[in-house]
C-alpha cells in the first residue's frame, strides 16, 4: 500500500523476524519499504518492536531471519547491499555517512561541548579539519544552535540538547535519517516547536526520514505515511497515507482535516493493539 513501493526503495525489509535471546519475539514477518525522500512514521505502543525495526535498518542489530536491502545511495560505497538472512551471519551494514540515528535521549557526550559533539561523526570518519568546521557550523545553524557551539550539554535545556543531537545526525548529510521517539521525553510546547522545525528541515533537505513514535498526533502532523504496528510480535497492521500538503503549520494542527486523520489513525491503532495483549 506504499504506492510507489517497487522500484528504488531506500531501504526495504522482507519478512523480517527478530527473536531476542530471551525468547521475546520482537518482529514477526515484518515487511516495510521506504521510498526516497519520504517522511514515514512507525507508530505503535511501547514494546511493539518499532525501535527494534529501526535498529535493524540502522545496522545496529541484525534480523534473525528475513532480508534487509539498502539501496546504493543509502548503502556502503558500491552496489546494492542485501543480505541478512538467517543463514548468513555476514550482515553488511549500511554506510556510516548515509544513515544517521537520533535516539530517544539526546545521547550527547557530556564531557564535550556542542560543537565537539556535532563534529564526532566526521572526526570518526577522519574527514579533514577544514571541511569539518564548515559542516559543523552549517549543521548547528540549521537547528538554531550556532550561538551555543561552546556550551556543554548540561548547560542546555532538554529541547536544545535534542537539537544538538539532530545537528549531529545531519552533519554527515545522511540519505536516511532514523529517529527513535526523539521528542517523547520533551514537554508539549517544546515538542510542537521541534515538530515544526523538523518539518521545515525536512522540506529544505528532502532526506528520507523514518520516525518512530507512540503519539498519533505527532505522527499525523509530521508524516506522509504512517505504518501502524501490532504489539508482540511486531507486524505491519495498517499503512495509512496522510496526503495533506506541506508546509504544515499551527493552522494544520488545529484543522478538522488533521483531526480526521488523527481519528483514522487512532482507530487503526486501537484495532492493532486489541489483537495482541499489552
Amino acid at each position: 500500500m506504499s504506492g510507489q513501493g517497487q522500484g528504488r526503495a531506500v531501504v526495504s525489509l522482507r519478512s523480517v523476524n527478530k527473536t531476542f535471546d530471551s525468547g521475546t519475539v520482537a518482529l514477526d514477518g515484518f515487511d516495510f519499504d521506504v521510498n526516497p525522500g519520504e517522511f514515514v512514521s512507525l507508530l505503535g505502543p511501547s514494546g511493539c518492536g518499532k525501535s527494534t525495526a529501526l535498529r535493524i535498518i540502522a545496522g545496529l542489530s541484525s534480523a534473525s531471519s528475513g532480508t534487509v536491502e539498502w539501496c546504493a545511495d543509502a548503502a556502503p560505497a558500491g552496489g546494492i547491499h542485501s543480505i541478512a538472512d538467517s543463514n548468513s551471519s555476514s550482515n553488511s551494514n549500511p554506510s556510516p555517512n548515509k544513515i544517521s540515528f537520533v535516539f530517544q535521549e539526546p545521547t550527547l557526550m557530556p564531557w564535550a561541548n556542542v560543537a565537539a559533539n556535532v563534529r564526532l561523526p566526521l572526526k570518526l570518519a577522519h574527514i579533514d579539519q577544514a571541511h569539518i568546521t564548515g559542516a559543523v557550523n552549517r549543521a548547528l545553524e540549521r537547528v538554531g544552535l550556532a550561538e551555543f557551539a561552546d556550551s556543554y550539554p548540561r548547560e542546555l535545556s532538554g529541547g536544545m540538547r535534542m537539537r544538538a543531537s539532530i545537528a549531529r545526525a545531519l552533519v554527515t548529510e545522511p540519505q536516511l535519517l532514523l529517529m527513535d521517539e526523539p521528542f517523547a521525553a520533551l514537554d508539549e510546547i517544546t515538542r510542537f516547536k521541534l515538530n515544526n522545525d523538523m518539518l521545515s528541515l525536512w522540506q529544505e533537505l528532502r532526506r528520507t526520514v523514518i520516525f518512530v513514535t507512540h503519539s498519533v498526533f505527532e505522527s499525523v502532523f509530521l508524516s506522509q505515511r504512517i505504518v501502524v504496528m501490532t504489539p508482540r510480535p511486531g507486524r505491519v497492521f495498517a499503512d495509512i497515507a496522510i496526503p495533506a500538503p506541506y508546509p504544515r503549520d499551527e493552522h494544520f494542527r488545529t484543522s478538522a482535516e488533521y483531526a480526521g486523520y488523527c481519528r483514522t489513525v487512532s482507530a487503526a491503532l486501537t484495532q492493532a493493539t486489541a489483537g495482541g495483549e499489552l
Binding site: R55, A58, G59, L60, N93, P96, I99, S100, F101, F103, E105, T107, M109, P110, W111, A112, L120, P121, K123, L124, A125, Y152, P153, R154, T172
Partner: protein
C-alpha cells in the same frame, strides 16, 4: 557565604577546644611527657626535630608518590587491557582481587625478605594503591551509555576510537575517584611496610621514626611524626581532589555546584 564560614569555622573551633582540653588535662593531672605530651611540647618537638623529621617525610613521600604513580599507570593500563581483551580479564582478575583482599601487613614481612628494603616498601605502597584504580577504572569503562556505544558503532568507529573518544572520557570520573583513594592508600602502604621493616632496615621514613621513637619512649616525637603523616595525607587528598575538580568541573555532576 554563611555556610562557607561555618564549614571552615566549626572544625577550627572543634580543633581549638580539643587542644585546650588536651593541654588542660596534661597540666591539671600532671601527666608526664613519656605518657602523654601536651600539644605545646609536640609542637616544640616538631620544630626542634624539624630537620630529622623533614628528611624522613621526604623519604616517605617519595615512596608514596612513586607507589601512587605506578599504581595509577598500572591500574589504568590493566583496566584497559581487561576491557579490551576478555581473556586477559578472565585470566588475571581473580589474582588482582586476591592481591587486594590479602592484608598488606601480612604480606610486608615476606616482601622484605625477597626485596631490598626500599623496593619492598615501594611494592607495598603499590599493591595497596593499585586495586582501587583498577576496580574504579574497570567500572568506568564498563558503564558507558549504551546509546553512545551504538552511535560509535553506527559511525564505524574503530575499537581504539571507541576507547580513546568514548570509554576513557566516560570513565574519567571513576578513574579520578580511584586515584583519590589510591593517593591515601599508597601512603598507608608505605607506612605499613616501613613499620614492618622496623629497626631491621636502614630506612629513615616517617613511619620508621615513629617505630624508633616508640622503642626509645620518645613520645613527643611520635606525635610530631604522626602529625606530619596526617598532614601529608591531607595534602595528597586535596591535591587529587583539586585535580578531579579541574578535570570535571565543566561537565560532571559531582563537580557542579547547584544553586538552590
Amino acid at each position: 557565604m554563611k555556610a562557607r564560614v561555618l564549614r571552615i569555622g566549626l572544625p577550627l573551633l572543634v580543633l581549638a577546644l580539643v587542644l585546650v582540653a588536651w593541654d588542660l588535662a596534661v597540666r591539671g593531672f600532671a601527666i608526664p611527657a613519656y605518657v602523654l605530651p601536651g600539644p605545646g611540647l609536640v609542637l616544640a618537638t616538631l620544630v626542634a626535630d624539624a630537620e630529622l623529621l623533614w628528611q624522613s617525610l621526604l623519604v616517605t613521600l617519595a615512596i608514596t608518590v612513586q607507589g601512587f604513580l605506578l599504581a595509577a599507570v598500572g591500574g589504568i593500563a590493566l583496566a584497559i587491557a581487561f576491557n579490551q581483551w576478555r581473556l586477559i580479564e578472565y585470566s588475571f582478575y581473580p589474582y588482582a582481587v586476591i592481591l587486594q583482599v590479602t592484608p598488606i601487613v601480612a604480606v610486608a614481612p615476606l616482601l622484605l625478605i625477597y626485596l631490598p628494603q626500599p623496593m619492598a616498601v615501594l611494592a607495598c605502597a603499590w599493591i595497596v594503591a593499585f586495586f582501587p584504580v583498577l576496580a574504579n577504572t574497570t567500572l568506568g569503562l564498563n558503564s558507558v551509555d549504551h546509546n553512545l556505544i551504538a552511535l560509535f558503532d553506527l559511525y564505524k568507529a574503530s575499537r581504539w576510537q571507541v576507547l580513546w573518544n568514548l570509554k576513557l572520557p566516560a570513565a574519567l570520573p571513576q578513574i579520578l575517584a580511584g586515584l583519590r583513594i589510591a593517593g591515601g592508600l599508597s601512603l598507608i602502604g608505605a607506612v605499613v611496610a616501613e613499620i614492618a621493616a622496623g629497626s631491621a632496615g636502614a630506612g629513615s621514613g616517617l613511619a620508621y621514626r615513629i617505630a624508633e621513637s616508640g622503642y626509645r619512649l620518645n613520645i613527643p616525637r611520635m606525635f610530631a611524626a604522626l602529625l606530619l603523616l596526617s598532614a601529608a595525607g591531607v595534602v595528597i587528598f586535596f591535591l587529587l581532589s583539586g585535580l578531579s575538580h579541574l578535570a570535571l568541573r565543566r561537565w560532571h555532576e559531582s563537580a557542579i555546584r547547584q544553586e538552590r
